[in-house]
Symmetry: C2
Subunit: 437 residues, 2 copies
């Protein structure tokens, strides 16, 4: 009989197999560019293989529940498009993206209060690609990029692939702390360094689930403007708020050239179409177009026209309301379950929208070390350390409520609670590491 | 009345508008990374806006004629896919790409004699993205990348975006000259430099239309193997040969770890799906997967499954035969027209497949300067200088026969012939620059 320890080990090996294999057998290893040294498998990626088994409640992935989409309508949209415009839709397109879609995306941004011209929009392969292109345009090796801490894990990978020096700015439950931002910039300036970018997810942040308070937004923009730091505002969740109307993005009230705004249809329509975009100051937009051309020639015209048609023919704004109701019920299920299942000393955020809750556990709990035990207990999460550029957060984790239905969300949290209680009991038995004062 | 000179100027300004605007207004200019300095608008891109007007015969673009695709079948494939597998097809996928598609792509490569495992394939946004990811993995600023001369224009942009030092290797009508390759590597070695990559399009080359002779292929691989130079074999046109069976790619007969092979469905199915791939040695494949994740998280699962379904349900191999017949007729139309229309002293290649003929004109003709006059005469081409990393080729041009029907191809060549005769007459009148001995 296999012990549960064996189960843990097998689960961990399975998930991390790619990493260990990459180390061996590599004839070309000494020929890689310096930037390639930073390309290592992420926590999240290593985990997906394990967490996708059906018996496991995955609170790990940030996938939207696309099954909520009217598939018949989507199928008809695609089929009409190919029948009517096939030779255009299946051809190469421009590197900037389809003009009709760019106009439709301006209307999407207008729902949040942004006034934008289609000519300043560049369509990208998810907003991830926009982030990647921006990193390549702005970041020389050693350049400072400011981020929240914790921050979006693949942004860390992307900036590291350009050899950025990531510097964290403190957050609280109201998002970035303006005074901390100003102090960080001043400290860097004293050392002769000026950050190139501030990367921020101000609304329903991934991973922390917090939102930059409205009254802090002007200060963040002004501090960056004064310091000559370009703001990269990543806003994939802005239209998925559970309380009241949408928050005004930084871009809505900032000077046009202060912010590059990143949007995405991945959470509000379907990630499988890979349609994201950047709204950028004109000169930066020109560079983005050139970088996009070099990166992929052009995005899929087909995918762009599907989104454009869908937005112009379907009651998408009403469907968004449905998504908000659906995700709110899942968030509520998670918060209710956390209140019951979490051990004393655990704290967590209360997201007003988006997909994620951030949990901080008592000192001494190591969520990365605990993960195989959680998987053996049939629940998965993402250890928090990977979201911290500075290696903090060993006792934190990201929980997603976006994909499983409410009862599964609750079940997952209860399973996690049991794992945590056992973990804390073991720590009590064998002593927890002294907390660093 | 507008003079035709005005017409030329307007046409040129229209095409190059993006470039001049990028220079002005740029608050962030001093903040760009060093690599962004190399991001400047290409000849080809600047031209597209002008050459797409219906009255102009464009021998410029390298677009396949996707109207030849059975649109009803494609529409049904997509609609069935969404109806049956929507929640998977429209979700995020793995960074490496769909396993079923990777298996199908191995079968495509087997048609050319390549034996490959799906696990060594990475699906990318066109083969362009594979090229971009490889550049990022291998090229440090100043590293040498060997290319043919002329070579694929966007490869130049992509390698330059990684600050590569591009070194050209001489070609003739049988492709890369092995002795020249060996000499170039030896010359670099004498200066203490070892090229990281050889980028080559050995079969039906873009832009020159030449093919590396079968008897040279082993030598090219062996020279690179001995020198520790990884070969990047870009093969978008390999299945579009007009004479006999497909050439065996370098990858078919080389050691597994000598070559990264790039394939594409853009010319044989539809560029609008943006499905290309890399077949790489395992360790390089692992790096490609990580780089792809950082660049875009994942490719469109939908687009990948469309290609996979299309290949598994349609008589694609038969359709390829139809494409070969269609493109051969257009090549013949071009070669026939060139024989009649070209002035004395012009020479051109005779492609055995693919999309392009390369024309070399008498010394003194400047094809870039001549382009607005050609556009005013309602024909477009791509000036050759942009395909040369070393600034050679002012008297060369690329002509594409892939998109217009045969009679339009012929008409375009005849228009071009008239422009050239006038150009040469003017040169005779005002004297041509002395050729540099």
């Amino acid at each position: 009989m296999m012990s549960s320890e064996d189960g843990y080990r097998r689960a961990l090996c399975c998930g991390l197999g790619v990493v260990s294999r990459a180390v061996s057998l590599d004839r070309w290893e000494r020929r890689y560019a310096a930037r390639a040294q930073g390309m290592v498998a992420s926590e999240v990626r290593a985990l997906f293989a394990v967490a996708s088994r059906p018996e496991i409640v995955s609170l790990a992935g940030g996938m939207p529940d696309v099954a909520a989409l009217p598939m018949d309508v989507m199928a008809a949209t695609m089929s009409d498009l190919v029948a009517g415009q096939g030779p255009t839709a299946l051809q190469y397109g421009s590197a900037q993206g389809d003009p009709g879609l760019r106009e439709a995306l301006c209307a999407v941004m207008a729902m949040e209060g942004i006034t934008a011209e289609p000519d300043n929009v560049v369509v990208t392969v998810g907003s991830q690609q926009a982030l990647d292109l921006l990193a390549r345009i702005f970041v020389d090796p050693g350049d400072v990029v400011l981020t929240e801490s914790p921050t979006y894990v693949t942004a860390i990978a992307t900036f590291r692939a350009c050899q950025a020096d990531l510097v964290s700015v403190a957050m609280d439950d109201d998002g970035l702390i303006p005074a901390a931002l100003a102090q960080t910039i001043a400290r860097l300036a004293a050392a002769g360094r000026c950050p190139k970018l501030l990367y921020t997810v101000p609304t329903f942040q991934n991973p922390a689930g917090v939102t930059l308070a409205a009254e802090r937004r002007g200060a963040v923009v002004e501090i960056c403007q004064r310091a000559g730091v370009l703001i990269v505002e990543d806003n994939p969740y802005g239209l998925l708020g559970f309380e009241g109307g949408p928050m005004r993005p930084l871009r809505a009230d900032a000077p046009e050239d202060a912010v590059v705004y990143l949007g995405s249809m991945s959470k509000t329509l379907a990630p499988g179409l890979r349609v994201g975009w950047a709204l950028a100051p004109p000169a930066v937009k020109d560079k983005l177009v050139l970088a996009a051309e070099s990166a992929m020639l052009s995005h899929s015209v087909f995918a762009q026209l599907v989104v454009q048609r869908y937005l112009s023919t379907q009651p998408w704004a009403d469907q968004l309301k449905g998504l908000r109701v659906m995700y709110r019920a899942r968030r509520d299920a998670m918060l209710d379950a956390l209140a019951v299942a979490m051990p004393a000393g655990a704290t967590w955020t209360r997201p007003a929208g988006g997909f994620f809750v951030w949990v901080t556990l008592p000192d001494g709990v190591d969520t990365r070390a605990m993960l195989p035990r959680a998987i053996a207990a049939r629940v998965a999460y993402v250890p928090g350390i990977g979201f911290h550029p500075d290696g903090q957060g060993a006792n934190t984790m990201r929980l997603s409520y976006c994909f499983p239905p409410p009862d599964r969300v609750a079940e997952g949290v209860h399973r996690l609670g049991r794992v945590l209680r056992r973990e804390l009991a073991l720590l009590d038995m064998f002593g927890r590491p002294a907390s660093p004062a």
